[in-house]
Symmetry: C2
Subunit: 723 residues, 2 copies
């Protein structure tokens, strides 16, 4: 599952204290004393944030900087800086249409028009810096654009229609506070044999299920037992659901159906290091690590431009997408020209429906990016464990609901990888005694969103052969359902279970994860064409061949959006190419990149089921749309409680022309998850991936000429080791 999580004890005093601590924490991270000299950013000073990392690693022999956070923007796509966010806040504070300061639900860079970004060269002044603000006041959503150069609000739209902004930490605190003050909740806890101070509650979003909950902002609250173990997720107080009107600050529905179901014990739920968990029975492992005595080979310029081997791209934290890769360019292996591959790539939405129609479960159909944000939930990475030695860490700068900036340290890491894999190889058997093999070394940008119980690791891996591999890796905690049973033999009808008994009195409910990626491919230029290279069986004519059948690759050019709404089918296979019809190789093949799906899953829900309507972008695995700067979020800009009026499926229903246009490719990577006992009390990682792969983009194998590994090139140990 996936939620904005909070843990709040009964005491309001404690809650207030907590809030104060948070505010203090944010302020501590916000230096107010420096100033950028205008939007060009040329005379910006920089400061170094966080030296704690350097005390954690053996410093290699290099001048590599493991962290450097710029004060000022240096690139049109650089995220808003602390100073810029403060400036936006100042502008809003004096913005007349708001009687009082609104709740800031989202605040991020309003990216310049694509043409401006494409035209911009280092040294040029930056295009005007603007902020997009999504604010709430009196239950209404306000979309504002703040121009930082002009120092004023330049557009202001009040949204009607369905959908609300992402929930804020403040919203979550309100929901929890209202719930914990609700007498019936405490009464139920006591009736179940708990103390009310044991309650650890979280506030999942409720989706949209018809008119009953429309017209007001809603969060659900459900609770666990937090006594005796830090892993409260394993101890649901089943069937207890409060529906909270966040703006009215009141309980609008209280449902208590699970009193017969015991709260599971805390036995074997702990997972923190040092908490007396038996080590597994296995031979211990000797130390192993990826070592780089001369330091990493990549560099990060001005905080966001990553350069490595034949790749250059802009990388930034984003409150909603988590991590955005922009302007990805690969060097032509022969000319050295940096050639465009992708203008922008990011995870646009994450749809997580649970498969249980009961009162306490039906609404668990999360859209995590739009409801919570994949970036604001990306907590600091754990050095040496989440990321290896020699990782570079990047901070996120986000905004509280009162409009103040705060720093999320070490939110993204970047590292090189050598895993013993092969880039290419060939042997010849007899008198050509050829034994040629080349190592594969890659660059990874990683972030982990922890959306309540689940941890989503996102890897963007860049290979020297031109491939970008995008990997999603799941870990964290199951969302568990309390159960009266301790053994499946006690279950009257096992067919009726909506999940697996994963420990005594808890069921891991079956669910899905769908991650929809926005891939604004610009292969060699913005005007591209999507080609469905369909493998079609052919029968030979009588007498033509001893073979009866074979298949051909038929190139179906997608002229309009409908041509590119595709479901993957093992027995009607295709390759999915984005080509530049104007750029051809010396042989006349169009330059292209293909999407290569890996293992995946499709949504099985009814197309007219409310969660599927809202997440209709998962109706196909592949979509292609014409570029439109407002079409970034597959589930719509205002996703919470939306009815699905602003999704990719709705935009794409217009069936616009897409041939030889600036196009965006959308791909949804899916997982079905039937939990098992191994997932308790924390899940070993599960992964899936897709590739963006050059296809006739290079004239030939771009890594033909790389050198093999030789002993003398590898790290050399000094006296202490070789002795």
């Amino acid at each position: 599952m996936s939620t904005g999580i909070s843990w709040v004890r009964r005491s309001l005093i404690a809650l207030l204290l907590l809030f104060l601590i948070l505010v203090l924490h944010y302020n501590l991270n916000i230096p107010e004393f420096f100033n950028c000299s205008g939007s060009s950013g040329l005379s910006c000073a920089r400061r170094k944030l966080g030296s704690f990392l350097q005390s954690h690693i053996s410093k290699p022999k290099s001048n590599f900087k493991f962290k450097e956070t710029p004060q000022c923007p240096h690139h049109p796509l650089d995220p808003l800086t602390i100073q810029e966010i403060n400036q936006v806040r100042s502008i809003l504070l004096s913005y007349k249409p708001f009687a009082s300061f609104p709740a800031i639900q989202a605040l991020y860079l309003d990216e310049p028009d694509k043409s401006q970004v494409l035209d911009w060269k280092p040294g040029d002044p930056l295009p005007p810096r603007k902020a997009s603000v999504i604010a709430l006041q009196n239950g209404q959503s306000h979309l504002l654009t703040v121009d930082l150069d002009l120092g004023r609000v330049t557009s202001h739209e009040v949204k009607s229609g369905s959908g609300y902004p992402p929930v804020s930490l403040e919203d979550i605190n309100v929901a929890l506070q209202v719930a914990l003050s609700y007498p019936e909740l405490n009464k139920s806890a006591i009736d179940r044999g708990m103390e009310s101070s044991d309650l650890a509650c979280f506030s999942p979003t409720g989706g949209w299920y018809g008119p009953g909950e429309e017209g007001r902002r809603i969060l659900k609250v459900q609770c666990f037992s937090g006594r005796g173990s830090s892993n409260f997720w394993m101890r649901p107080v089943e069937g207890l659901t409060l529906t909270i009107d966040i703006d009215q600050k009141k309980v609008v529905k209280f449902s208590d159906t699970g009193r017969r179901i015991p709260v599971p014990e805390d036995t074997n739920t702990e997972y923190q290091y040092g908490s007396h968990i038996d080590p597994p029975k296995m031979q211990p492992l000797n130390p192993i690590s990826m070592e780089q005595p001369n330091g990493p080979s990549f560099r990060v310029e001005n905080g966001h431009i990553v350069k490595w081997a034949n790749w250059a791209f802009h990388l930034k934290p984003d409150p909603r997408a988590g991590m955005i890769i922009s302007r990805a360019m690969v060097q032509d292996s022969e000319t050295g020209e940096f050639r465009s591959v992708m203008y922008k790539g990011f995870s646009s939405e994450l749809f997580v429906p649970y498969m249980d129609p009961e009162e306490a479960w039906y609404f668990k159909t999360y859209m995590d990016a739009g409801e919570y944000g994949m970036g604001v939930t990306a907590l600091p990475l754990v050095p040496l464990n989440d990321c290896p030695r020699y990782s570079y860490y990047m901070d996120g700068i986000f905004v509280t609901s009162d409009g103040k900036p705060y720093v999320q340290p070490n939110m993204i890491c970047i590292f090189e990888r050598y895993a013993g894999d092969v880039g290419w190889r060939h042997s010849e058997l007899i008198n050509y005694k050829i034994r040629e093999s080349r190592p594969k070394i890659t660059l990874v940008a990683r972030m982990v969103s922890t959306i309540g119980n689940y941890d989503y690791i996102f890897d963007w891996e860049f290979q020297t052969d031109g491939i970008i591999r995008v990997k999603v890796i799941l870990s964290g905690m199951l969302l568990l359902k309390g159960s009266p049973y301790q053994n499946i033999s006690q279950v009257p009808n096992q067919e009726d279970m909506t999940g697996t008994l994963v420990s005594e009195n808890v069921i891991g409910v079956v669910h899905d994860h769908f991650i929809t990626f926005h891939l604004d491919m610009d292969v060699d230029d913005s005007n591209n064409t999507f080609v469905n290279v369909n493998l079609v069986k052919e029968e030979t004519s009588p007498g033509e061949s001893p073979r009866k059948s074979y298949f051909k690759a038929k190139r179906l050019v997608a002229k309009t959006e409908d041509d590119a709404k595709l479901k993957i089918n093992l027995y009607d296979p295709s390759e999915y190419h984005v080509i530049n019809p104007s750029r051809r190789s010396r042989l006349g093949n169009p330059s292209g990149y293909r999407l290569v799906p890996g293992g995946t899953a499709a949504s099985l829900l009814d197309l007219d089921d409310p969660p599927q309507l809202r997440s209709a972008f998962t109706n196909n695995q592949i979509w292609v749309t014409p570029y439109n700067r407002t079409e970034q979020w597959a589930g719509g800009l205002l996703t919470s409680q939306s009815k699905g009026e602003d999704t990719l499926a709705v935009w794409s229903a217009r069936n616009r022309p897409i041939e030889n246009k600036d196009i965006v490719l959308w791909y949804t990577l899916g997982f079905h998850h039937i939990p098992c006992q191994e997932d308790f009390p924390v899940m070993p990682t599960v992964e899936s991936s897709f590739d963006l792969k050059p296809v006739n983009f290079f004239e030939r194998n771009p890594i033909l000429g790389i050198t093999p590994n030789f002993e003398q090139d590898l790290p050399v140990y000094g006296a202490a080791f070789s002795a």
Copy 2:
């Protein structure tokens, strides 16, 4: 494509010389001076083979031995030793029914009955050692069993029916010799402007296409230009095909259709290091390697038993399968008990059909394991490039057609991997400031089969969480078709091309790769049940829930083979469980392992097309059969020119009971390959994989208690480095 490759110049003197060198090479590798004391192997001495590796690596501070090849068998499944092979040869030399020594096409351990292997304990005498021999004489296939303890042939069957044994190096030499002595071949070469000494030929198998070629052993011969570049594969002499009767040593068909098509130039075809290839335009990379100052954590006992972390398994080279994993057992994380997972796992067949019905191409529908052998084509691995530092290398011991043993050095490597990945993790947001993450370390067993042009890297990767990941990675050279065109604009009808123009005058023909794995799962014991856990959409009743739909996991127990013939379907998804119905967790869930497919492909050929009949085991992605010791090779024991009378599909048509029986799971991993220019002149690696994953096998996450990485546990550099 995939073939037994040879390169032979015109001169028969050179050929003879080559053969002598080979024989000399084999003899040099065969020590004759030692002796094993009977089948128990207890008093066996050992010798150390190949110290060259140690001169290639920085020796770590450990007693780890990077290679040790036992003289004598120590385990019932150990492959035949050099001495045992010599003993088999002696027995056959004096075996009366053969007037002269037959051609040995295959000679390998006849594995003891499964029950004997399961009953055997270290220290017990070995079960009787036996050899299986597949021999040819007077065009007939002979299947023999030689009992080494009894010192005689104990069974002898002459096969009629379709199918021949694997082709031998001798067969290939015969085919090439016959072809190169054929005047029309030389005439055609000269007519095409070549010198006949430029011809570099190979001898692909021809499959089976009706009665015309039945009743005799056939190889095709086709040629390339070997002048000026070692990469002759890039320079086809198109449309020139000889069909050779190997036993009659004569050309039975000569086809020469491509004289209009030029032989492609040698430009940009070279790939060997040092052959003046321009380095790619990219920033050079600093050295990076996986370092293990205390040496690897695994050990290899008696040459074949691999023990690492919580895993133990038997690993051996095999002439046909390449690499066989047997008796894979994982330690229970709580009790320490070694529990059975898989009795035997290996790649059983590799089907590679090309998609061109023309005379010179239609027959390219290889079955590489049965026609050539994945093991005899596994050439020595390249240290530091095919496998990282601290790899352990294992030799293969195979047999020439005159029955003599030879050593294929460094055929398999074993190494530990840390790639910066995460085993499990979780963070908590607010007052539980939890940041827990654990590194993922794995063990890889790797082999590379080079079947002519293609290189197949096989990885069996063992994870501490109980997962076995099986990965197939493709590289090597495309099989190219000559073309009159240098630019696709010259092609009159591009729709008719059977592939991509990948360089001037060469087309990369579209093809598939299907790798069928034999997975004899023994989950906790031999008696297992296959369960198709089908995800079935359910509609809610009116008023039951605000949700309209969800899905349930329905457990369909496969009672007979037909229940387990499965095609993967994204919109009718399943999990594929092999469970032990007799072993249940404390919660009552049956202990199981599941097959988790990754990206894959299915054969699109007609079911009654000859190549598909022969490879009917690819008609489904999944099959389950009852264990039968003769059903090892999905394409039949005698695969060459077979009609498909002895395939998995035929065995399984009997629809035998499989519930709660000793069962074998078969999975086919597929690739469609539409070549692109990046594949020229050598292909960057492409990979796919599947997992065998515990499902309610462990009571809980088996790696919950592993320790995080701490700085002080990682490699420490000495003075030379830290200075």
